[in-house]
Assembly symmetry: C2
Homo-oligomer: 401 residues x 2
């Protein structure tokens, strides 16, 4: 008997029809003789509705109380999904995050899973119950309710699969797998049957949007067999495994991320310790920095640029404004009218022709490159937002994906 | 420093304005130097909305999953109320039923409180936090979520007041106290300053609707000082205590209950054991019987009548139909177009004039009495539903309440 963990997002359970569709996927898996544990998110817009209720009362409500409020969203989902499975005549039990043993740290709104006490889930599985678990939530050491923040339900599913040593963890989404590029942007994009954790990680980080990077990181760490597939089609999805046939795949996909802002501080003194001061200050304020670029010094000054998520723009500008004064620099500039376009593939660095091929494609498409960043398995460039679609299509064609 | 437990019902927190009104009552109590623990129900129609969601999915959903679903209603309330108190600048923490230590039996949908682990609440009070607790809910020994059923939040409040040895338990409702009759029905009704537990119990059982009898029973058992008052006025409420000046009060109030159906089985054999068979069968099927009346036997047969809540009508008729065959009786009749009207007051039985005065008032108002039942402190009569208003007004006037 195999143990399968299945995760369904909010749009997969947004109404009665979708809930029964999901219930049928679950019970079919169960009928094949598998033990089934399901992780589910809050229905459709529930979380947004709850946030609106909170803002109406208090725009600066504590994160602790926000977690008490938001965790009800998944609790409603698990009950309704369990009721649908009861209706289909199968044995089922729903569990909230704390009932399923999710223990987290105390960072309300963005908690990290510390441990899963799997006794209750194991116990329900031994009774051949289908187990429905609320994603996105847990409790801290004081028994306070916490939520995991963005991508939390994916992370819940992978963590549970790891704890239970599940044979497979299926992430159901509204796309039917991982594509060589976003099919809504690149008509020629096609679905990949297999991909490695590292490649998936780069694609996730780059905003391919299928899986949150936290969950892929965790799957890689605990060797969880992941599969991404659609709850609305019967198509096979994409399997994410440790090692796939590496020699065959060079460029695996193209992705873009429009949630990017670039901040530059101009004319800072060309002295040791400047970069440290800037990035330690940003880190202390929890501003996540992606690409960093430093110009070659001239006239004893240099320019430092970096990219961040747009949500952090105001905060980053405030910090950089202070540092600008402190360093006696020539000012801070910011551009959020940009997009990050990347290609991902194992063994890229040993193929020097890849980067130039990408830059050639962009050049022919008349797309100006604003910044370049490379890693072992990806090359990212910043381009103007309006060039973004053109850029990924040009790259997709150039590499014949 | 006194400890006050305050309970607010769903209509008291139905929207933003009401929530802040309640938050002000709480923080004013806190500012007077009291420790404050608050029990709150689900907002306005939340519970009904959740039930509707469930029925859409499965009309026969398990009670366990209904409890998982419904308990989210109070969890939303406690978070929003805590956020409002945060907004007013006071230290506050919200706790779900299980976090507040409510341990119940396993009767999902109508669980009884077994014990309250008060460590968490004590701990929060010692930090001078205002503690907001979700009413109506707890967990059973398997850590499954349970709900307490009708009147559950009142019961939660009284149980918590008992466990914490609170100095006072204030039940805030949409009326400002206990009246000699329902003021919406009897214009001359007036509010009582004090009343005993037993009298309150009879009024609650009779459908006066202010407090559920479970909560009054518990208050009597654990000597909890109760006060019923309005969250919308500043008026003093009604205090419910062990012993009030008994000699002064004979008739304390008039109440009526329209949720009544009368079932009669006609011509059953006049033999021992018949009544036992009927009422043990009804009890086994959880049909609560209120008044029982047995006619004097003639021709070796007798008629047995009893009253039940209307919700139990179909079930009772089914049971009685079976027994009718088994006994070879003359049929079962049912009437739910009736109302139970009662007067309540300590020392009533030692005043034989009371009953006759009540019957006289009804007679003068031309109200036919269909059934009579008496106890130490109450007299109830069944009348036709359309005579109900007339009856309570006539009685109220006759006793000069």
């Amino acid at each position: 008997m195999n143990l399968v963990v299945q995760k369904f997002g909010g749009s997969s359970v947004k109404d009665k029809e979708r809930i029964f569709n999901v219930a049928r996927i679950i019970t079919e898996t169960y009928q094949k003789g598998n033990n089934v544990v399901v992780v589910v998110s809050a229905q459709g817009d529930t979380t947004d509705d709850l946030i609106e209720k909170a803002l109406e009362i208090n725009e600066h409500a504590s994160k602790r109380e926000m977690d008490v409020l938001l965790s009800t969203g998944e609790q409603i989902s698990i009950a309704l999904l369990a009721m649908a499975i009861e209706k289909l005549g199968f044995p089922v039990v729903s569990l909230t995050g704390w009932q399923a043993g999710f223990l987290t740290d105390s960072t309300h709104g963005a908690a990290r899973i510390r441990r899963i006490n799997k006794e209750r889930v194991d116990n329900e599985l031994s009774k051949r119950n289908i187990v429905i678990v609320a994603g996105f939530q847990g409790i801290n050491r004081y028994d306070d309710i916490t939520t995991l923040g963005r991508g939390g339900s994916d992370t819940s599913a992978v963590a549970l699969a790891a704890a239970l040593h599940a044979d497979l963890c299926q992430i159901y989404t509204d796309v039917d797998g991982v594509y060589t590029a976003d099919p809504r942007l690149v008509p020629n994009a096609h679905k990949m049957d297999e991909i490695t954790y590292d490649e998936m990680l780069e694609l996730a980080t780059l905003g391919a949007g299928v899986l949150h990077n936290r969950s892929v990181e965790m799957a890689k760490k605990y060797h969880v067999n992941l599969e991404v597939l659609s709850s609305l089609t019967q198509n096979p999805g994409t399997k994410i495994k440790e090692v796939v046939k590496v020699e065959k795949m060079l460029i695996r996909g193209v992705a873009r991320d429009n949630d990017v802002a670039r901040v530059s501080i101009l004319g800072v003194p060309d002295q040791p310790g400047i970069a440290f001061k800037i990035f330690s200050k940003l880190a202390a304020c929890k501003v996540n920095v992606d690409i960093i670029l430093q110009s070659i010094g001239r006239d004893n000054t240099k320019d430092i640029s970096f990219t961040i998520s747009r949500a952090n723009k105001e905060q980053a500008l405030e910090i950089m404004g202070d540092l600008n004064q402190q360093f006696g620099a020539n000012g801070v500039v910011c551009d959020d009218n940009i997009s990050k376009v990347s290609i991902v593939g194992a063994g890229m660095q040993s193929n020097p022709g890849v980067a130039s091929k990408m830059f050639e494609a962009l050049s022919e498409a008349n797309v100006n490159i604003q910044m370049i960043s490379t890693s072992e398995i990806k090359i990212s460039v910043l381009v103007a937002l309006e060039d973004s679609d053109k850029a990924i299509n040009a790259i997709h064609d150039a590499f014949d994906l």
